[in-house]
């Protein structure tokens, strides 16, 4: 019953976010969609994803979109949607075909989950999702941190867009100052807990980025510029560590990304901590990077 309610509200929010009359309305509906999505992940026994969705999907995407709303001119012309009926029919047909082709897979069972169990102790961590993320499918994660870096490089190329930053207000200043240490502690806890339970580099990085974005909005964050070596190192360190581990295991060890079993826990921890730092730095610059913080 609860799932039915969540599902219906999710679909309603999705349609509302697209078709709502004002841009501000659609952004708010999309923000609510993100929050409810986190609840849906929790309902589907995916705590990792609920954390990630809440921090990334609802938090940072919301900040990004509302920030962009500031900069973009008000929606001037709202043309009637182009031949909406035909596109809607096509999508409905695709949806029907998709559901029909997805149905048989409900009673299939995938051979992969039983394979994860016995290999857990050799993977260096106790929580299966982190083991898959950083060990069994580590190549995906490496490329994915590269995707994050690429997005930052793309934003670096764009001309700076000046945002009318409102003057920070004493209450907000006070609140963000009290909240900052809590975020750092919770972020660290999430990172450490990654090897035993739900949590890990991405959730911790996203949380730290959210904290940094809040501090930067209140001009509390110290002046950061791309020309500072420290910022560049903190952005690149995650990918650089992962890549050096990959190259080292390929040349000295016994294969690309094959961690020697004695050091696998230490290696994974090193990779995860550096990845958290670089994810936090990259996401902060992505959401709030302006002018000389990005331009070299």
């Amino acid at each position: 019953m609860v799932d039915l309610a969540i599902g219906l509200i999710l679909v309603a929010l999705a349609i509302g976010a697209l078709l709502s009359s004002t841009l501000f309305g659609s952004l708010t509906l999309f923000f609510a969609f993100g929050m409810l999505m986190a609840v849906a992940w929790a309902r589907l026994h995916a705590p990792d994803l609920a954390l990630a969705e809440a921090a990334i999907g609802a938090g940072l995407t919301g900040a990004l979109l509302f920030n962009a709303l500031n900069k973009s001119p008000p929606e001037v012309i709202k043309e009637r949607l182009r031949h909406p009926l035909s596109v809607a029919l096509v999508c409905a047909a695709i949806l029907a075909l998709l559901v029909v082709s997805l149905l048989p897979s409900l009673d299939q069972v995938s051979p992969l989950p039983p394979m994860v169990g016995p290999r857990m102790d050799a993977s260096g961590v106790d929580y299966p999702v982190t083991a898959v993320l950083l060990n069994f499918r580590g190549w995906d994660t490496l490329l994915e941190i590269a995707v994050l870096l690429l997005a930052l490089l793309g934003v670096k190329v764009l001309l700076p867009t000046h945002t009318p930053a409102p003057q920070p207000w004493s209450l907000l200043l006070g609140w963000s100052k009290t909240l900052a240490p809590v975020i750092v502690v919770v972020g660290g806890y999430l990172l450490w807990r990654g090897s035993r339970g739900a949590g890990g580099a991405f959730q911790a990085g996203a949380l730290l980025a959210a904290g940094a974005v809040m501090l930067r909005l209140n001009h509390v964050l110290p002046e950061i510029r791309w020309s500072q070596l420290l910022l560049r190192i903190s952005v690149l360190i995650g990918l650089a560590t992962f890549l050096t581990v990959a190259i080292a295991t390929a040349s000295f060890g016994d294969g690309w990304l094959t961690y020697p079993s004695a050091y696998s826990k230490a290696l994974i921890l090193a990779i995860e901590t550096t990845a958290t730092i670089s994810i936090a730095a990259t996401l902060t610059l992505l959401v709030e990077g302006e002018g000389d913080e990005l331009q070299s």
Binding site: T22, I77, W169, L171, L172
Partner: protein
């Protein structure tokens, strides 16, 4: 003993949900920004407090209880700040807040 606790926690949960409903009703019905903010913040915070109380009675381990209280404190703090922020910047400060929609010819 646990029977009584169970009943009290159910009571608290139901009251909490009732408060949330009134808060939502307030947002829909009230005319301008300040009334709505008032409704949302007041009703939802008390509702949330009651729900946390209801859950506290059910939870069995101490760390979980402490976590719940921490969550409650954080939500209380952020709820109040957001309300003040919206009140301060919401009214005149923002062209996009929905009221100043540019005349759209559809």
């Amino acid at each position: 003993m646990s029977e009584l606790l169970n009943a009290v926690s159910w009571l608290a949960l139901i009251a909490g949900v009732a408060f949330f409903l009134t808060g939502a009703l307030g947002v829909l019905r009230f005319p301008d920004l300040f009334c709505r903010l008032h409704a949302v913040t007041k009703a939802d915070t008390t509702g949330f407090g009651l729900i946390t109380l209801g859950l506290l009675l059910r939870v069995d381990s101490w760390p979980a209880a402490l976590l719940l209280v921490l969550v409650w404190l954080l939500v209380m703090g952020s709820g109040a700040t957001n309300c003040q922020l919206l009140a301060r910047y919401g009214e005149g400060g923002h062209p996009h807040m929905g009221e100043h929609k540019v005349r759209e010819r559809s």
